[in-house]
Subunit: 294 residues, 2 copies
């Protein structure tokens, strides 16, 4: 089968063997925002045409491609949901060169009953089920980080944290960015920011330190960005980690992000276990295995 | 004397009688950013020329005009500091049509020892000393809100919260803003945001609700901005208010902001006492009264 993780900015396709091994892969900057005139069918054919010609027929798409802004809307499925429930709710798409199905996103409510949605992350979480016990916690860092509670192979609930997007807005559009110069993303200033997130005063106060410490000569302009990143990720991790220490957190995503989150999780008393971005391919294979193909 | 609250965007001048009453006032959008080629002397003369001609000679300037980006830098004075200490550290400026002095900003460290700075807010706080007891807490909401601890007429310490600027960056430069439409600033959605700030999950999680609740049809697009504002102000107030309830908070600033802060402070168990923007004039009069003029 062919599995595609099709998001807002990128398109990642995998040719997957019956036993789940990845036979081939393609990555392109052809996310939703980069597909002109909604030419999704043409884009898909251009990217995976050779694999279709080689005999593949089953194509499974996950991610924002199934949103209202995507090819076709696949309604959210309510949690709890596992790969089997998701496979039962795939949405068919017209495509002349093969069978294409969309993975639905998931909806849930947080502890206070506030609505939550995800699209694509559920597939990545299913991709690391093999490494999880009966009960597990996963963290998928990014523009909108997700923290996902898994029990017996099903996603029970999750929360979104706008950490990446807030970081970008603060660096690009507030006085904090004006004092920053290019520098390393991790290291001691990042750790210092994570430590800072434990202090009283709250996030809106802590972030001002990325300015006041520079003014006071106690933070280099080249370290301010890493310090701010540490404050924000520290706040996210502290809010999302259970109070009791020792929680294992399966961290799934791009290495440059999961390495920072792993540092923050450790600093906050958790045990990070890092997984790579191929989790999506394994999740697509799992869902595709449960699906009913013609 | 003449007192001027001269900030980044606005210029507010007061002609003050010997007994502290305000005889006249001028407001202009001639803040630092709007003064071409650093023509501060010309700007000042144009604005207060008639008062100088009428015999005023003593001119006291407070605010960002004393920063590195302003007319002349007035070094920060360390807390604790009262109006008398500030008056002892005024910085003289060359001006052919009168005696001009700059009020220095204040520096401090928060509970964790992180550097803090303010410029202009100290003068507003001194302006409401008359309404304060021996020990008081003041809140000056804005782009960079300040919470100021006052004891026996002196500013002991303070913290900055980047609430206003973060709100602007989130509305203008994240996905949250794309779902928002013009609506009222306060009301029930604001209060709901303040309540939300009490829930577990943290600020970076709560703000996502301004999107997910709209997606779920539980929040109107015209209410999303007020809800987000309530979340951010709620987080600021909860972090800055002492744990024990019943704290009186002197809220100083523009009425459209202090009315929102008063709602949030009440909801979080504090007692707001609102003061208007003329606090700056009264503070300038107090400092000017302690100053040594030629």
């Amino acid at each position: 089968m062919i599995g595609v993780d099709w998001g807002t900015t990128s398109f990642r396709a995998f040719r997957i063997a019956r036993d789940g091994t990845i036979r081939d892969r393609r990555v392109a900057l052809r996310g939703l925002l980069n597909v002109p005139d909604n030419r999704f069918a043409d884009t898909l054919r251009e990217e995976i045409g050779p694999w279709l010609a080689a005999g593949e027929q089953h194509v499974l798409l996950a991610g924002m491609i199934g949103s209202r802004q995507g090819w076709k809307e696949a309604p959210y499925l309510s949690c709890p949901a596992g790969a089997r429930e998701v496979a039962d709710c795939l949405v068919d798409i017209e495509f002349d060169w093969g069978q294409v199905k969309l993975v639905p996103g998931l909806s849930a409510a947080d502890e206070a009953g506030v609505a939550e949605v995800m699209r694509g992350e559920e597939t990545q979480v299913f991709g690391v089920l093999g490494a999880m016990g009966h009960s597990a916690l996963a963290c998928l860092p990014g523009t909108h980080s997700k923290w996902v509670k898994v029990e017996h192979g099903r996603i029970i609930r999750f929360t979104t944290h706008m950490t990446g997007e807030t970081f970008g807005a603060l660096c690009g559009h507030t006085i904090l960015g004006r004092m920053m110069r290019e520098g390393p993303a991790g290291g001691e200033p990042f750790d210092e920011g994570v430590r800072r997130s434990r202090d009283p005063g709250g996030l809106l106060h802590h972030i001002f330190g990325a300015r006041s410490l520079v003014l006071a000569g106690q933070l280099a302009e080249t370290d301010a960005q890493a310090y701010l990143s540490g404050i924000l990720i520290g706040h996210e991790v502290r809010a999302a980690l259970p109070a009791e220490p020792g929680q294992v957190v399966h961290t799934i995503g791009a290495p440059e992000l999961t390495v920072l989150y792993a540092r923050a999780i450790s600093a906050c008393g958790g045990y990070p276990e890092r997984h790579d971005g191929e989790a999506a391919a394994r999740g697509l294979a799992l869902i595709g295995g449960h699906a009913t193909w013609r």
